[in-house]
Amino acid sequence: MKSTAKNIYTALIFLFLYAPIATLMVLSFNASKTRSKWGGFTFKWYSSLFRNDEILEALGNTLLIAFVSALVATVIGTIACVAMNSMKRRSRTVLMGITNIPMLNAEIVTGISLMLLFISMGLRFGLGTILLSHITFNIPYVILSIMPRMKQLNPSTYEAALDLGASHTTAFFKVVFPDLLPGILSGFLMAFTMSLDDFIITHFTKGAGIDTLSTKIYTEVKKGIKPEMYALSTLIFVTVLILLLLVNMAPAKKFRDVSERRKS
């Protein structure tokens, strides 16, 4: 009975999280161009999506920026976590405080402050400025994902590895890294998704002629979202979902295969 209550609770939360997504999916099949009117079922937005160069280019930009910025942020962030863990308490607190700034600050302030910086540096606004900004706001997400794990680490295992003759690097990769990996992974994914989802900072640091999906959608909010955008979001979502299911099913199946083979 208790587990039923748990399941219902979990289900309700998922309903809450996924109801708007279901709505967007339904809208992608809406023949009417307007969000608030159902005009019958259609696939036409899916075919026109692939003829829409602007949206596809924005998609390419978005993924490129998200991937590169998340990767760089994960590397810098992981290294920073390791370094911070061995710092004196005071300098660690200072650095953590600085780390918190981009996360804690209003995004618009971060965006504007970076814009002011880039102007004063005389940089030309474009892909480069967006990347620099995204890395900047992604690092804290990586650090905040890893730090709780870092704090739970037992330092004696690392020291034990050193005592047993492992080099610092080996000890790190054999002992510390596996424990941190879930944090690093979730940090990377979080950074990737944050970058994917960012609008405000991109808006202030992008240049002429380059759009991510967010800035594209924002300009479309003004004139009504093009249904192709719903179609694209649905496709991205379903792709990720399927990948997720496949990846999760595969090992379980393998395991079952193995155990069945053993039985026979």
Binding site: L64, M115, Y218
Partner: protein, 355 residues
């Protein structure tokens, strides 16, 4: 652990081919480039393709939301634009701050040939010598109402204060347009900077606020089509589209008068590609191109030659798309109020919003 690694590869595997496809965007045409900064969804993308094909000039195209968003970006030089399409009062602000280059109309022959003389005349209110701007679109601000949801025809701004329509009213979420409504209601000029008049207008807006369902910009369109509200303040350019989607909707210019606005092409003083910019403006003034844009965005075109080409007689003679302005009283065009005037309006608008 294998599980997680697979996952990672799955995520990467998805993104890598996609991002590679995104890298192929080309740089500069054979005849250089032109950087255009325009309102969102404010021209037919096909016209840009045609321009690029015909001239070999690569168009770098960027969009803005409001004049107020556009201005600081252009002023800061964050991106070096060539051609911009601001509205009337913003053009006068840009002229006042020496940001625009005078146009050489010899290089823009289509402008004088196709654009109606009255639009240049009207432009004098913000560009006194017609030196800097070429009209691109124009229109009025009016009321869109759903005839099945109101009890009597809407003719006046005053009906936006009628308690009957509580929670059924959509106002414009921009300071000048919101104040324009209250100022016209009270018979003031919409360019007033008189403190007492503005106080009256502000109080009117505060009084109206409980009746307002939402302050929105272009979402008025979707909400009116979806029968979410009975009355909305809207730009005339949206009226044709909304009526097509929902025949119950009617557009009126209120009897107290309203704003007649013009959005015009201008070239920035620091434009890196002035010649290409003039070619671009000239191209936009060509009758067939202006027609394409009109059909795409449905905002009134000042291009008389293009209007002649419209095949649908109803639209060609539509008094929404091409109203006879002499039939209306108290029409005005926004002018730049100066820095202090702008600041005053912004402060009052915040007071309305936070009340």
């Amino acid at each position: 652990m294998i599980n997680k690694r697979n996952l990672l590869f799955a995520v990467f595997g998805l993104s890598i081919p996609m991002l590679l496809s995104g890298c192929g965007s080309s740089k500069g045409g054979v005849n250089g480039e032109v950087i255009v900064y325009n309102w969102g969804e404010y021209l037919d993308p096909e016209t840009i393709e045609i321009f690029e094909e015909e001239t070999g000039i690569k168009v770098i195209y960027d969009e803005f939301e409001t004049n107020e968003v556009m201005y600081p970006k252009v002023e800061s030089g964050a991106a070096s634009y060539d051609v911009v399409c601001p509205s009337d009062y913003m053009i006068s602000k840009m002229i006042a701050n020496d940001m625009l280059a005078p146009l050489n109309f010899d290089n823009i022959p289509n402008a004088k040939k196709n654009i109606g003389a009255q639009y240049f005349e009207q432009s004098r209110s913000f560009d006194p010598d017609n030196q800097y701007s070429v009209p691109y679109c124009w229109g009025t601000v009016g009321i869109l109402y759903n005839k099945t949801m109101v009890e009597e025809p809407i003719t006046s701004w005053a009906q936006l204060w009628d308690e009957k329509y509580a929670d059924n009213i959509l106002m414009q979420d921009s300071v000048r347009d919101a104040f324009m409504v209250a100022e016209k209601l009270n018979g003031f000029s919409m360019n007033t900077i008189d403190a007492a008049e503005l106080e009256t207008a502000k109080n009117a807006l505060i009084e109206q606020k409980p009746l307002v369902q939402a302050y929105v910009i272009d979402q008025v369109r979707d909400k009116m089509i979806g029968n979410e509200a009975a009355i909305g303040v809207i730009y005339s350019g949206e009226a044709i589209y909304t009526q097509r989607e929902n025949p119950d909707l009617v557009y009126v210019i209120p009897e107290e008068g309203t704003n007649v606005w013009i959005d015009s092409w201008v070239i920035l003083k620091d434009a890196p590609n002035k010649e290409n910019a003039e070619k671009f403006i000239d191209f936009m003034c060509r009758d067939d191109i202006a027609l394409k844009n009109f059909e795409y965005i449905t905002y009134s075109t000042p291009n008389d030659a293009a209007r002649e080409l419209i095949e649908d007689e109803d639209i060609k003679n539509s008094d929404i798309a091409f109203p006879d302005l002499s039939l209306y009283n108290n029409l005005e065009t926004y002018v730049y109020l100066g820095e202090e005037g702008d600041a005053l309006y912004n402060t009052l608008w915040k007071e309305v919003k936070s009340n």
